[in-house]
Homo-oligomer: 331 residues x 2
């Protein structure tokens, strides 16, 4: 690999001059500039990023942390972030935390040594205090998840409480009284899923209905999870007549279980999904769900990050995007 010294030698100039050409500094005569460029071309020279980072240069690399990339919500989110970043000359590297605190921490640490200029967190495993520590090394942006009352980190999210409330209220208004509930997280806990839990509870409460713990399924993420939830529901003596799920995947699994057990959707069980991913249009019947503006979320988060990297103070500290209830055929 040729180095800057090789280019200097070949062009008969000094490293300093080559560096100036490389970084488009003023005060380089047109003649020498061309000589340098010629030498660089001939040697197929490319600057060594590690050496640059040593001098504190930006890496133009943004990290994105998600729990699992196989979750379509995250892969679409990453895709949107990547699009914007690429346009602005930034690289994106994706990290899967697998919900592991340690792993997440090791990603945050990459900022310390400028391997990453900034980090967009689409999932949060560590505490507020821990994350705050790393703000010293570069900007952090929350997307999808957030930490309540933490206003040192800009966030892009939806109103999970309202979204869940709307979904459950729709079912209630249709006359359902026994409504099961699936979440990717826990039922009694802080954070995102907590917000959806609140929406669920609030809707039920307004109709004077108590939460039946038997109807609550926690830590459900995948199609398989949804199938097992469906099977569990259909073998209860007193079955729920509807289920509000945490994702389209889980919902699709529930529907598949219904087919298997010869149960009708929505007659025997109404189903509401979450996300409005492409999959929502290929279940049969088509899935009623809550549309998250995943592309907008990704784009906004990326823009917030790039603004922060450019030293602009963020326009908005907390952006809450609208969800949309999409009624199809499962309710």
């Amino acid at each position: 690999m040729p180095t800057i010294s090789d280019v200097a030698k070949r062009s008969g100039l000094s490293k300093s001059t080559v560096s100036r050409v490389l970084n488009n500094y003023p005060h380089v005569s047109e003649e020498k500039k061309e000589r340098v460029q010629k030498a660089m071309a001939e040697l197929e020279y490319t600057p060594n990023p590690s050496a640059r980072k040593m001098r504190g240069a930006l890496t133009t690399t943004i990290g994105v942390v998600v729990t699992r990339i196989v979750n379509p919500f995250f892969s679409y989110l990453v895709n949107a972030i990547e699009q914007v970043a690429y346009e602005q000359g930034y690289q994106v590297v994706v990290f899967q935390s697998n919900e592991d605190q340690e792993k997440e921490l090791s990603f945050l640490q990459l900022m310390q040594h400028k391997q990453l200029d900034g980090i967009i967190m689409a999932s949060i495993e560590n505490d507020e205090e821990v994350i705050e520590t790393y703000l010293a090394y570069g900007p952090i942006v929350f997307v999808n998840e957030y930490i309540q009352h933490m206003n040192t980190v800009p966030s892009v999210r939806i109103n999970h409480i309202a979204a869940a409330y709307e979904g459950v209220m729709h079912l209630l208004n249709q006359g359902h009284r026994r409504i099961a509930y699936c979440t990717g997280g826990l039922f009694e806990q802080q954070g995102q899923s907590d917000d959806r839990n609140i929406g669920y509870k609030k809707a039920l409460a307004e109709k004077g209905i108590e939460v039946d713990p038997q109807f609550v399924f926690v830590n459900k993420h995948t199609i398989e999870d949804g199938e097992s939830v469906g099977r569990a529901i259909f073998q209860m003596k007193e079955q729920p007549t509807a289920v509000f799920t945490g994702s389209d995947e889980v919902a699709a699994g529930v529907i598949a279980a219904a087919h298997e057990l010869n149960q009708r959707v929505p007659e025997d069980l109404a189903v509401v999904g979450f996300d409005d991913q492409p999959i929502a249009k290929i279940t049969y019947p088509k899935l009623t769900t809550i549309k998250q503006p995943v592309d907008d979320m990704g784009r906004l988060a990326a823009n917030l990050m790039i603004e922060a990297l450019n030293g602009t103070t963020p326009t908005e500290n907390e952006t809450v995007l609208e969800t949309k209830f999409v009624e199809r055929d499962t309710t």
Copy 2:
């Protein structure tokens, strides 16, 4: 950020000794070792990766190139690779090429300056000669895709010809004679999809059937693509009675289009998918498809890469894994 010099100062020793402790070199007395470790802990010291790379150290980072991460086949593949790599102490960074040659090239270049130890390519946009150039900078492993007769790069793949042949032959044996065909690539071209094309043509040829260009759909990837293919098929005067698709996504889209147009699957149109992703179990009817051992592919590719990085000559240069025809309800 504390540096190695800070640790040296605090422990009253030299940088060299600290470096030796850091890298587990022999010939460091137990006493000094402890002093260094104590100082490192107190300062919360972490070594600067850029500085290390400058001296040619490995980065323990593996790059994976895919076309689009939102394609579940790729996200599952990446997931499997990541698992193995993480166990072995390697980081994985994922790149989306979006089928852009330039972009792919810029990833390959990262190896030149040891930003990446090696690259696993799950998609290939550049020519053999170009890729060969980068072998000088680190190992490359092909997975899923490959380049024929290129034995300088180990590859993990399936037999696309046989897989497509088996799927199409299944339809032929059921009596279908007008069989449509979807591919993610082109119909007349080199590479992966070309292999599937060969299998399709071969099966038809054996039954003495000519390819009807009208029945061939190219560059189809998504559920939406599948829906449009379905709509196109159902409005033909002389419709195909079956369709062999390039992915479960496309197949699911075709099935969705059938529902929309009140056509029955498989009675009016039989459908065969490819991949056997989770989505194959939630279409209605459940999708007949060809199972790719995506986890095995990812794991094997990762292991090949790690072997190569450890200097071991690869056990196998070309690993061809078995696919499995999974008959469900759409045929």
